[in-house]
């Protein structure tokens, strides 16, 4: 009783006094002041700061893009899909399979290419966005198509028979899907980490005393992610199906009464969400230059953090949340040892869920 009163009292006073914004603001101000001090004293070179910032933007765009699909399925099917991370991996592997085949056909054994095998000498294969744009393009298309198809197929087999089940039952089933999918990928492609690309020329941009280098793959990621985010916005705002998706997220029963074919909307959701997720997986691997069959799963909690930060169930929230998580996690390296950056990001996730579960954007639940 006493314990609970204390906790309730603490939490409600946190909420009532708007302590959260105050604390966040204070923390933010402190960081900015400290940042200014470090920059002014030269303790932190401006170029390093700019590099962190740029890295943060790149990473944030990737996480944001990967989060859209998760937010979509959360708002329309009303469950947290724990298999989402492995959809990212599946997209990356199928996409890179295609890219390897396109780039290496004729020069290398087909089976090694198809398996995105680590026996393929990537240096000789020479994939990068400038040298082999076609391979990259084909990879993107294949990643989106196969992941969309995979999401649809898994919905048909796993989630559709459970329509109307509680969100928790779906969540646990999605854990099963995650386990099965991840390890099926390991059986198919082996668990090794493989490198994918060759170096691309970097554009050096002078900042302060030094400079930052902006890679072509980073630019590719940012540009494509931005275009797809815009595309998602147009889909949701300008098309009938997109409007129906928002309608269903808004009020599922009314959507049914209005005559919106809910199954069709759900299929569209999986298709669009799956395609975006696949592309995100492919691009993240492109930018990182390597991948293994668990990288999507390892990203999952971070993607959850982004989605929750923005207000779970909101696509725009996912995008904003992704960018915020990306930038803060990179900038936090100024203060934190790099291996604790992830801890910080998860800490933000826990903190947000406890104190402001509706997210930064106030939990407007419009897909």
């Amino acid at each position: 009783m006493a314990v609970r009163d204390a906790s309730e009292g603490l939490l409600s006073s946190v909420r009532r006094l708007r302590l959260l914004p105050v604390v966040l603001l204070l923390l933010g101000l402190l960081s900015i002041v400290d940042l200014g001090r470090r920059l002014a004293t030269g303790e932190l070179p401006v170029s390093t700061f700019a590099t962190f910032l740029w890295d943060g933007v790149v990473f944030g765009m990737a996480v944001g893009l990967a989060g859209i699909g998760l937010a979509m399925t959360y708002s329309i099917l009303q469950f947290a899909n724990f298999a989402h991370g492995d959809y990212i991996t599946a997209g990356a592997f199928t996409g890179w399979l295609a890219a390897f085949v396109v780039a290496g056909i004729g020069s290398f054994g087909l089976d090694a290419l198809v398996l995105v095998s680590d026996t393929v000498p990537t240096g000789e294969l020479g994939i990068n966005v400038l040298a082999t744009p076609v391979a990259i393009l084909v990879g993107l298309v294949v990643a989106s198509v196969t992941t969309a198809g995979l999401a649809l197929a898994l919905d048909r087999v796993v989630f559709r028979p459970m329509r109307g089940a509680r969100g928790v039952a779906l969540l646990i089933a999605s854990v099963g899907v995650a386990l099965a999918l991840r390890h099926a990928l390991i059986i198919l492609f082996t668990g090794s980490t493989r490198s994918l690309t060759t170096d691309v020329p970097n554009q050096e941009v002078a900042v302060g005393q030094g400079g930052i280098s902006i890679g072509a793959h980073e630019v590719t990621l940012v540009v494509i992610a931005a275009l797809l985010m815009l595309g998602t916005h147009l889909l949701l705002r300008r098309t009938k199906l997109g409007t129906a998706m928002r309608a269903m997220a808004d009020n599922r029963n009314l959507a049914l009464v209005t005559g919106i074919p809910t199954e069709q909307v759900i299929r569209t959701t999986w298709l669009a969400g799956g395609a975006l997720t696949g592309v995100a997986g492919f691009l993240i691997a492109l930018e990182g230059g390597s991948m293994d069959p668990t990288f999507g799963w390892d990203l999952l909690l971070l993607v959850f953090s982004a989605v929750i930060l923005g207000g779970i169930g909101s696509v725009y929230g996912a995008i904003v949340g992704g960018i915020v998580i990306g930038i803060t996690s990179r900038l936090s390296q100024i203060w934190l040892p790099s291996e604790l950056v992830l801890v910080g990001a998860f800490g933000v996730l826990v903190f947000m869920l406890l104190v402001r579960p509706q997210g930064l954007l106030g939990g407007v639940k419009t897909v």
């Binding site: 609970r4 099963g176 899907v177 099965a180 390890h183 390991i186 959850f304 992830l342 801890v343 998860f346």
Partner: protein, 457 residues
């Protein structure tokens, strides 16, 4: 993914269980009520265990473990793991099965227990404080309980899926902190402590060693020379049947763990079959009803969550300390949590007997059987050497088998099966093998009707 064979397997298993139950008489026949039904529960479990032992003996025999020591050693390791999962499933059942709290941080809370114990009880000249082991274990238990309560305080109000994400994140934070460089080795007030980082950390020698050896901390070869009064006859007996000292040690440890598991079961049955358990069940079913009847639901949820976390931590310690124990952060990846969930859901969440059955069946048939089968195929037919790629594997039956039975792949295949089983259960039998049965939440048999009322009305 056709579920038909799995369905048949489960049906067969259920029929067998029913048959066993039939043999010992139906639940609540005429008199004796609850006592009677519990007795038959134990008999069901005993029958199941016996059946599985026979199965594993046969499997081991064909798998090439033909001398008594190797056979016993295999059975011992499976038994130990099964006991661990039984205990974890029981603890999780208190949280998820009874109170409906979706805790995806099982691995994290286990890690808290293990590493707290290590910090407290490792020798002071090493990475610990050098406190006696019981103090360390108590510390580990309390740390996880407190942390559980602390996590539960605010999180308990969240919807189930939020709680799931929070606890999973919590678990990962703990794991990442343990393996981070600052935690690997640090010095407070002149005392060097540490988690050992990513590499494995040797744990304090377990109580069984103290029971058997006079100088348990010495190397095994030296320690064997100086057994205790208890150790001496056991080692002699072991020698007689051809068991080496290390096997004797492990068998004794397993037997002790069995008693701890029984204690767990006893404890959780008591918790479940009480007014306390009744309120937890009510919270799971409909929290608003429970609170409308005057129950302070948060108090119940926090206690259930904290106690569950403490028990998870205790299990973690006992598991990792198994003979010659060492631990590593990799043990506490979220997969561990999912394993326990599969075990619990397989057995039937909400039922303590179900948790026991789930833990046993999970370890025996899903976790351990694949490697046994791999061995059998290997010894009986000789697994062809694995081809380099999947494509080579597809050229014929032999290469295909060789590929699938390669160590990495058999393990991955096991996960695939696990995932499919979980999906299948959620779709078709969410109540599990033993679910849907009633374990009445009361200390007395509620169906026993007081005679007096009949006359009164």
């Amino acid at each position: 993914m056709t579920p038909a064979p799995l369905e048949r397997l489960l049906t067969a298993l259920r029929t067998r269980l029913d048959a066993v139950r039939g043999l010992v008489g139906n639940r609540r026949v005429t008199d004796g009520g609850t006592v009677r039904s519990r007795a038959s529960d134990l008999q069901v479990v005993a029958g199941l265990v016996l059946g599985l032992y026979v199965l594993f003996l046969v499997l081991s025999w064909f798998g090439g473990f033909q001398d008594a020591e190797a056979l016993t050693s295999r059975l011992q390791s499976v038994t130990l793991l099964a006991l661990v999962y039984v205990m974890l499933a029981l603890a999780l059942n208190l949280q998820w099965g009874y109170a409906g709290l979706l805790n995806l941080g099982v691995a994290g809370f286990a890690a808290v227990g293990v590493y707290t114990m290590a910090l407290l009880s490792l020798p002071a000249e090493g990475l610990g404080l050098g406190l006696p082991l019981p103090v360390g274990m108590l510390g580990g238990f309390l740390a996880a309980t407190l942390l559980g309560a602390l996590a539960a305080l605010p999180a308990i109000r969240l919807r189930a899926d939020y709680l799931a994400i929070v606890t999973l994140a919590f678990s990962e934070i703990i794991r990442l902190l343990i393996r981070s460089r600052p935690a690997t080795e640090f010095t407070i007030a002149g005392q060097t402590l540490g988690t050992g980082g990513t590499s494995s950390l040797d744990l304090p020698s377990n109580p069984v060693k103290r029971l058997l050896y006079q100088n348990p901390d010495q190397g095994a070869f030296i320690a064997v020379e100086n057994p205790t009064v208890i150790g001496d006859p056991l080692f002699t007996a072991g020698e007689a049947v051809g068991f080496g000292p290390s096997l004797v040690e492990r068998v004794v440890y397993t037997v002790i763990l069995l008693f701890v598991a029984l204690l767990f079961y006893w404890l959780l049955v008591r918790v479940g079959n009480s007014p306390f358990g009744r309120v937890l069940k009510a919270i799971r079913e409909d929290e608003l009803v429970a609170s409308s009847l005057g129950k302070d639901t948060r108090r119940f949820k926090i206690i259930a969550f904290a106690v569950g976390c403490g028990l998870i931590a205790l299990t973690g310690m006992l598991w990792q300390m198994r003979a010659g124990g060492s631990t590593a952060p990799a043990t506490f990846e979220p997969e561990l949590t999912f394993f326990v969930f599969v075990a619990l859901i397989l057995g039937g969440s909400g039922s303590n007997t179900g948790s026991v059955v789930g833990g046993i069946v999970f370890v025996a048939l899903l976790l351990e059987a694949p490697s046994f089968i791999q061995r059998i195929v290997d010894t009986q037919f000789g697994v062809p050497s694995p081809p380099d790629t999947l494509f080579d594997a597809l050229t014929g039956v032999d290469p295909f088998l060789g590929y699938m039975f390669a160590d990495d792949n058999i393990s991955a295949l096991r996960f695939v099966v696990l995932g499919i089983v979980l999906v299948y259960l959620m779709q078709n039998r969410p109540e599990g093998l033993f679910g849907g049965r009633t374990e009445e939440a009361s200390t007395v048999d509620l169906s026993e009707r007081p005679d007096s009322t009949e006359a009164e009305s």
